[in-house]
Point group: C2
C-alpha cells in the first residue's frame, strides 16, 4: 500500500479531474510504477470515500512455518501460486468492481501471455454476474493508459486462447483512454462512470 | 479451496433449499471446519453461476526469496501480516458482497477479539459505499450459524472497542439464523436475498 501524501490533497478536488494530460506530473515521471500508481489511486478513492477498492494479497502456498520462542511465526518454505482471480476488487456505489492491470514497454500491442486462462474464466464469471469488470493497460513507452472492458478482452482471448498479442489499435477501438493526472494518478472511475455504469 | 464433489450435485437443486435443519448431514458432522464449509458453499454458488465469491489469500510479508537453478522461486523468509480487510468478497447479482466468518465453541457469546479495528473500519467503508456487508458467526457447540449485518457488528464494537464479547442474545435479536444444509452447506445468500438486498 502506497501512503498517500494527505497534506497535498486539496479539499475541493472534484472526482472529475481535468482530463487533459498533465505529463509533467504523471506517475512515470515521478519514478512510480504503474502498480504503485493504481494503489495510490485506490488510496485516494478510499480517503475521499469515493470507492473501496483493494489489491488482493499475492497467493502463496505455505509449506513450512517455524514458531520460534518469544518471536512471531516465521514462514521458512513457501511458493508463489498462480492467481485464480484478478488483482483488484471492491465496491463503487454499491456495484462490484473487478480488474486486472498490465503494463508493457511495447508500442503497438499488449502481449496476451500476461493473462492466464483462469483469470479470463474469472472475468467471464464476473461479467455474467453483472459485475463491472475490465483491464487497465499501460503502455509505458507511449505513456498511454487504456481501460478495456472485460468482455472485449475475453472476445479477443477466444480467438487463439491468448497466443497472439492484442494490437493497440484493437484497444483504442474498443477501450477508453484514461487521462493520467496528479491526483488521482490513474482516474479510471471517470471511465467507469461514463461508459460502464 | 475445497474441492466440491461435483458428481453429488443434483442438477435440479434450487437456490432456496429446505430451511429445516438437517443436522444429520451438516458439515460439522462430516468433519468439515466452518471455513471449509463456506469455501464449499462458494464453490457451489460459483459452479451453479449463482454468485462469484472468493476467499482472499492470506496476506504475507515476503522478506527473502531464493531462485534455485532449474527450479521455481522459493520463499525462505516471510511473515504473516494482519488482514486489513475481510476474508471474503465477490459479486452477487451485480452487487458487492463482503464478509468475515468467525467460529466459537462458546455457547452464549462470540469473543470480539476475533475482530480487528481495521476490519471494522473496512466494513464501515463498505457499508458507506452501499456494499452488502456482514459477518457469519458459527457456534460450533450449539451447531448454530447466524448472519449479522455489518452495521450491527460495528454498533456493538463502538461500545468498548471490541473488549467485550457479543452475547448470543444480541446476535439472535439483530441477526438471522442460517439453516445449515447439505448443498450448499451454509446457504447465506438466502438471508441476503430476504433481508439485505
Amino acid at each position: 500500500m502506497v501512503n498517500y501524501p494527505h497534506g497535498l490533497i486539496r479539499k475541493s478536488t472534484p472526482l472529475r479531474s481535468n482530463k487533459s494530460k498533465r505529463k509533467t506530473v504523471d506517475f512515470a515521471n515521478r519514478g512510480m510504477s504503474f502498480e504503485a500508481a493504481i494503489n495510490a489511486t485506490n488510496a485516494y478513492y478510499l480517503s475521499r470515500k469515493i470507492a473501496v477498492i483493494h489489491k488482493k494479497p499475492t497467493p502463496i502456498q505455505i509449506v513450512k512455518v517455524d514458531y520460534p520462542k518469544r518471536s512471531r511465526a516465521k514462514i521458512v518454505e513457501a511458493y508463489f501460486r498462480q492467481a485464480s482471480t484478478t488483482d483488484y476488487s471492491g465496491v463503487y456505489k454499491g456495484r462490484y468492481i473487478d480488474f486486472e492491470a498490465k503494463e508493457t514497454q511495447q508500442k503497438t500491442a499488449m502481449p496476451m501471455k500476461n493473462f492466464h486462462q483462469h483469470q479470463i474464466t474469472h472475468m467471464a464469471n464476473v461479467v455474467e454476474q453483472d459485475g463491472i469488470c475490465f483491464v487497465l493497460l499501460h503502455f509505458s513507452t507511449l505513456k498511454e493508459t487504456y481501460l478495456l472492458p472485460a468482455k472485449l478482452l475475453i472476445d479477443f482471448y477466444q480467438v487463439d486462447l491468448g497466443a497472439k498479442s492484442m494490437p493497440l489499435d484493437y484497444i483504442k477501438k474498443n477501450g477508453f483512454e484514461i487521462g493520467l493526472g496528479a491526483y488521482p494518478q490513474v482516474p479510471y472511475l471517470e471511465v467507469v462512470d461514463d461508459h460502464l455504469f
